[in-house]
Subunit: 230 residues, 2 copies
DNA sequence: CCGTATTTGTCCGTATGTATG
DNA sequence: ACATACATACGGACAAATACG
């Protein structure tokens, strides 16, 4: 019976991954897209019915999602979308400072001309939406920009860790309502970062990348009306 | 039938965690202790029988273990203990350089006298076993030393990430046979690190921690007979 | 405080896919 | 190359725990 009723079944034909992994990806997408609210309960049987599958694969997907930090599991109660506290977001930013500095240095050391072209293309797009103060697409492009940078290090473990941190930060952002703003300044910083990469100054690029994270954090603090004394 | 035959059943009474999580911890322990060899296949039904449970919880534990990087899962074939390649170990060391630098700075910024005492106690123990060139207990103490340091940052996300990296590095070490050696130099570096913490010089401590990772990596390279040109 | 309904936790049977003789 | 044996993948049913009236 080839009835592609659910989006999952359709994916199944394209991708050759296991069912639990497909479910994991789909739930991850739903969470990050805000289709499931922060703190909301994930009903096992409801999800399995929605995907027209059994509860086993859903449970396995839950385990993966917990390990990757997107959900929290309460014994005999169920799983819930994690709510990232301010303190945790702060700690994640500390990590990002260190990791982005590393990314800056590594990419500067080994970036190919093609990769730099990709960065320029993304910056171009960001410039356009920034001029229109179009926050939502800017946010998406910004994510891709940083994701590419992480990829260009060639360090797969770094990419995995970095993506998880970004996801949790996204979870935090979903908690509050506003986007961060400061688009122009952000593009300026991006330009400076890529310029540092092109000039092959490793340490300078590292400092630049780190400074960008520090500035991002400030913009976030501001958007959330947090004191900036320390 | 209250027969506490398996160690898992015993644990169940002490800890109140879920069965999949207990299985996860136990398998993790078995892997890190080398009871399951690198690349070895983890038999679902064999493990479930060993623990006197069904295969469901074991499968869920597998998903967690995969996400935490200890096992690799092949579709329709089973899960295997991951073999960490030299390239990957290299990349993990790059990450450790960045993370340990962060740890050094943060601990220096916020360490309490009690915490510093703990570090001194661990160093004392390490000195003793190092004098006897007792590699195996030194290795364990060294792990605890660095784990405590990570904990003392108060950054839980950092601790999680750091532990996973250390686990994978341990997996890599299990591949080769030898311990790394260079115990005396290692203790000297530890002393310098703690001294930096006590002197409250944040940047200096950061450099010191990073240098320790660099030196550790060199010792490992040497133990594995790798060229050290780049 | 107790009984009931719902949900998670666990187990087992069957199908599908893979390796081997 | 084919058939057989075996392991995983998934679904469905039962048991235990929690929440609610």
């Amino acid at each position: 019976m080839p009835s592609a009723d659910t989006p999952l079944r359709a994916l199944k034909l394209v991708q050759s991954n296991s069912l639990p992994m497909l479910v994991q990806k789909e739930i991850e997408r739903m969470i990050l897209a805000g289709e499931i609210a922060i703190g909301e309960w994930l009903n096992e049987s409801a999800l399995s019915q929605r995907f027209s599958i059994s509860r086993g694969p859903v449970r396995e997907a839950f385990r993966s999602l917990e390990e990757s930090g997107l959900v929290r599991q309460e014994k005999n109660r169920g799983v819930f979308v994690r709510e990232v506290s301010v303190e945790e977001a702060d700690q994640i930013y500390d990590l990002r400072e260190a990791l982005d500095e590393l990314i800056g240095k590594q990419v500067t050391a080994c970036a190919t001309p093609d990769q730099i072209k990709v960065l320029h293309a993304l910056m171009e797009e960001m410039d356009n939406v920034a001029r229109a103060d179009d926050v939502s697409p800017y946010y998406a492009l910004n994510l891709r920009f940083h994701d590419r940078l992480a990829e260009f290090t060639g360090n797969r473990k770094l990419v995995t860790i970095y993506r998880r941190l970004i996801n949790e930060l996204h979870l935090f952002r979903l908690r509050g309502l506003s986007q961060f703003g400061g688009l122009r300044k952000s593009t300026d910083e991006h330009r400076a970062m890529v310029k540092a990469i092109e000039s092959k100054k490793i340490e300078a690029a590292g400092r630049m990348f780190k400074a960008h994270v520090v500035a991002s954090r400030r913009r976030m603090d501001k958007a959330f009306g947090r004191d900036k004394t320390s």
